[in-house]
């Protein structure tokens, strides 16, 4: 890793101010992505500003039809939260499948979303549930937040503070894990909103990052059951391909994981 300057922020405002002072600052949350990248010398921030100890960024709240997860809440806490398990069990399940136990202790929802890895799990939930990403500056809808591979609507120095998930009528997540990295080779999050809308998002599949899957949404609108997807065909065009999964295999996984997510939905 290149030498850097480590700062532990005392507040969100302090973090933003410190960020602005550095020539090439980066926010550090759980560090489970940024630090490996820095270790490989693929990133060389002048300053890293640690958000992970900010109490204002940690915690889970459920009020009415909204689950709010503050940005620096580790995956483990989300996976174990009784409130989340009760309101959106699929979200707790998703959090329990990220990385490995040590990663789940450190990695955070805000860090995951800000990085927007095309194979990360959380983006699928955020997009399928139509969550709102709140920052120190504004609120951003899921549709507007994700901008393709490793790219988001966040401006330089903008800090995610929390993510608000509308509680769905039903939701499910199924993931085929990448055998080595444990990211999603393909993961599909299906949700039936309380207004009866169907939203489906897939991660790990598309060359453009997390995506909605209209073909599955339409089929499930007609019939919310795994078998409704039997006749659905997902095009391999534009899908990721590597040694662990060809594009047509991933296309198959979008459908099969979609079916399993529906079967698991509650």
């Amino acid at each position: 890793m290149y030498e850097t300057n480590y700062h532990r922020a005392s507040s969100v405002a302090d973090a933003a101010a410190t960020f602005a002072k550095g020539s090439e600052s980066k926010f550090l949350a759980g560090g489970q992505t940024l630090l490996p990248v820095m270790k490989q010398r693929l990133a060389s921030p002048s300053d890293v500003i640690d958000l992970s100890k900010l109490q204002e960024l940690i915690g889970i709240e459920v009020s009415g039809d909204t689950v709010t997860i503050k940005a620096a809440t580790p995956h483990y806490d989300v996976s174990q939260s009784d409130a989340v398990r009760k309101a959106i069990p699929a979200l707790a399940h998703l959090a329990s499948m990220i990385g490995d136990p040590a990663v789940r202790y450190r990695g955070t929802i805000g860090g995951s979303l800000a990085n927007n890895d095309p194979a990360a799990d959380y983006p699928a939930a955020v997009l399928a549930l139509g969550a709102t990403v709140k920052t120190n500056k504004r609120s951003i809808s899921a549709e507007d937040f994700f901008k393709g591979l490793f790219s988001t609507a966040l401006e330089d120095g903008e800090i995610i503070t929390q993510v608000a998930f509308p509680v769905p009528a039903k939701a499910g997540y199924a993931k085929m894990r990448h055998p080595a990295s444990r990211f999603a080779l393909t993961g599909v999050f299906v949700a039936q909103t309380k207004s009866g809308d169907i939203r489906v998002a897939a991660t790990g599949a598309s060359q453009s990052g997390v995506m909605r899957v209209p073909a599955i949404e339409q089929a499930l609108k007609a019939n919310w059951s795994p078998s409704a997807l039997d006749s659905v065909t997902i095009s391999a065009s534009g899908l990721l391909a590597d040694i662990h999964g060809s594009a047509d295999y991933r296309a198959n996984l979008v459908k099969v994981m979609g079916q399993r997510a529906v079967a698991a939905a509650s």
Partner: protein
């Protein structure tokens, strides 16, 4: 350079390190606690797992500065004097190690697994929970046995306390 103050195995320490220093390097190079190992550079293998404020984390994926003010327990701090921690004893008794390189991280992760699941562990859960620790020698068979054995021992020990 920064001064990092933390507690390691119950002892308060203060170390001057470059800001880029990882916790694992602070432990190994500055404190000579070489039981914590480095087996990869992509945060996969878990040879570096230590407990930070009671949670098993990869010390290769944490800056030393992030651990400032924290309580860190390494493999060297697990036994009570000459008395092995039940997990250490179970690894030995079940032949849960061969070359010993992954063992410290494996044991630290395993202790955390038992803490989280209590005595309600089964083989499938143990195998799933060990996904962040790679061993090349044992095929995991005896590690899984050791963790299940230790879970029983720790339950008994807890009941006795």
């Amino acid at each position: 350079m920064s001064t990092v103050k933390l507690t390691v195995n119950g002892r308060a320490v203060s170390v001057d390190v470059e800001d880029r220093t990882l916790l694992v390097h602070l432990l190994r190079e500055n404190l000579n606690l070489t039981g914590t190992h480095v087996g990869c550079d992509t945060s996969q293998c878990g040879a570096c797992v230590v407990h930070v404020d009671g949670r098993a984390v990869k010390s290769c994926t944490m800056l030393a500065g992030q651990a400032a003010g924290s309580n860190v327990t390494t493999i060297e701090g697990l036994a009570k004097g000459d008395e092995l921690h039940p997990m250490q004893a179970a690894f030995r008794d079940n032949h849960g190690l061969q070359c010993g390189y992954c063992t410290p991280g494996m044991i630290m992760s395993a202790v955390d697994i038992v803490h989280r699941h209590g005595g309600k562990l089964d083989e499938e859960t143990v195998r799933h929970e060990l996904e962040g620790n790679i061993c090349r020698c044992t095929g995991y068979h005896n590690i899984v046995k050791a963790v299940l054995d230790a879970a029983g021992r720790m339950k008994v020990a807890q009941a006795a306390e």
